[in-house]
């Protein structure tokens, strides 16, 4: 990427390096959200609907894990995937796959904790009706998750926001390799450390604009859906 041009000019010129970076950032963070949702939503719903000894502690722990420092997650995943580590033979360190893994771990607690709270609140409202209709435990989970879908969408956006914004995890497990594992956030960090502050700021604003568009699209989807199904 040319240092001389501003971020805006790079967009207008269709700079391939910039677009590759944007594509990678979105691919990594969106994949992480999908995987975290697949793992975190059933986990959150299960936690909301079951009672067992130690449950309160687990809920507190899950809430606390929302604040996992990205750089710590990155370090832990790095040690796992390093050639000297237990999963080194997979050879996926310094690849986008490792970045997706790290970000997924980072945001599963957010999605699970928010799902748990949402489903628990909804269960209080739905409990009598669903019990009266003799709904199975699995059925309760799917019914509540589906009925709570608008609130859960917000949970997904929170997870996506966290993933798209972090730099610590992807920097360590990805290595910020030019043309391969460089994302928007690591590019901003790099340009800042090179003293290209205007370019760094421009890239940062591009990232914010993209995240804003995604949130706007989610909002539009919700409005349309509500019209269909209330």
């Amino acid at each position: 990427m040319s240092d001389e041009l501003s971020a805006w000019q790079l967009i207008l010129n269709g700079d391939p390096a910039l677009f590759a970076i944007v594509r990678l950032s979105l691919a990594v963070s969106l994949s992480a959200v999908v995987l975290a949702a697949l793992a975190g939503m059933p986990l959150g719903a299960l936690l909301a609907l079951t009672r067992f000894p130690g449950r309160s502690m687990l809920v507190v722990l899950l809430n606390a894990l929302m604040g996992l420092p990205p750089v710590v997650v990155g370090l832990a995943v790095y040690l796992l995937l390093s050639r000297s580590g237990p999963l080194g033979a997979m050879g996926i360190l310094f690849t986008p796959t490792a970045m997706v893994i790290a970000q997924t771990i980072l945001i599963v607690p957010i999605i699970a904790a928010l799902t748990r709270q949402t489903v628990e609140d909804l269960w209080a409202e739905y409990r009598d009706e669903l019990t009266a209709m003799d709904v199975s435990p699995a059925g309760r989970m799917t019914t509540l998750l589906w009925d709570a879908r608008f609130s859960l969408m917000t949970a997904l956006l929170a997870g996506f926001g966290r993933a798209a914004a972090e730099v610590g995890a992807v920097m360590i497990v990805g290595g910020n390799i030019d043309g391969f594992t460089r994302t928007m956030t690591t590019a901003v960090a790099l340009e800042t450390s090179k003293g290209n502050l205007p370019l760094a700021m421009g890239l940062g604003l591009v990232l914010v604009a993209i995240v804003l568009s995604i949130n706007a699209a989610a909002w539009g989807t919700r409005v349309w859906s509500e019209r269909q199904a209330g």
């Binding site: 409202e125 739905y126 009598d128 009266a132 209709m133 003799d134 209330g230």
Partner: protein, 240 residues
């Protein structure tokens, strides 16, 4: 697929329910048998809602026994309940009914037909594709009735279903309840509206402070109450 057992007669045998230090139901014995609608009346706090929840199996007694058709297990085989404020699933009216049919293990091939029939029966056929949460109070209660009837119940329990509705909506709901009663479904309904009792009741159960105070045919109870509390209640006095 469904067990051939019946939920009737529904027998409450010396049932009490405590919540902490408060006694909500006090040594109450009652038998529900097939027939005309039974209306449960009494002042606020007399235990009407709790009684219905026990009959449905949503609550367990602290003492005494509840049995359905001689069985003690509370799985709702062929009974359904309506609450004062129904909870609409976040989907269309037709989808709500479909959900109830699915939970009642209706065969898939029959569902479309039954949805249409049920919506017709409760007068919501035109609103089939409206989001259920956007329906009016009366329409939502009628949809709840459709859901309950989807279970093909023997007993239909209703907890003051028209308390929040205007007279027109109330009439709509009462018509459906009467038709259900005529088709052989046992109606057990809590009500605070004596006019409604007169319109719907076959017999009346009068509760005071969690206990069974008086019981009998509707006409007898309304015109010739035998207990002091019943007379006071019918007069409009506060029964403390």
């Amino acid at each position: 697929m469904r067990a051939p057992s019946s939920d009737l007669p529904l027998v409450l045998d010396n049932v009490s329910l405590q919540a902490g230090a408060t006694t909500i139901l006090d040594r109450l014995s009652l038998t529900i048998t097939p027939g005309t609608p039974t209306l449960i009346v009494g002042p606020n706090g007399s235990g009407k809602t709790t009684l219905l929840r026990l009959c449905m199996g949503l609550a367990l007694p602290s003492a005494g026994r509840v049995s359905w058709g001689g069985r003690a297990d509370s799985k709702p085989v062929r009974r359904a309940i309506l609450f004062q404020r129904p909870v609409m699933l976040r989907r269309t009216a037709a989808a709500n009914v479909a959900y109830a049919l699915a939970q009642a293990r209706t065969r898939r091939s029959q569902r479309a037909e039954r949805i249409a029939a049920l919506l017709q029966r409760v007068g919501l056929a035109d609103l089939a594709h409206r989001p259920a949460r956007k329906l009016s109070g009366g329409e939502q209660q009628r949809l709840a009735l459709a859901r309950a009837l989807a279970r093909d119940p023997e007993i239909l329990l209703l907890d003051e279903p028209t308390a929040s509705l205007d007279p027109a909506a109330t009439r709509g709901v009462e018509e459906i309840i009467l038709m259900a009663a005529q088709s052989g479904i046992k109606i057990v309904m809590a009500s605070h509206d004596l006019g409604q009792v007169r319109r719907l009741a076959g017999d009346v159960v009068f509760l005071v402070r969690g206990g069974l105070c008086e019981q009998g045919k509707a006409a007898d109870f309304l015109d010739h109450p035998t207990t002091r509390e019943a007379a006071a209640f019918l007069r409009g006095d506060l029964v403390i």
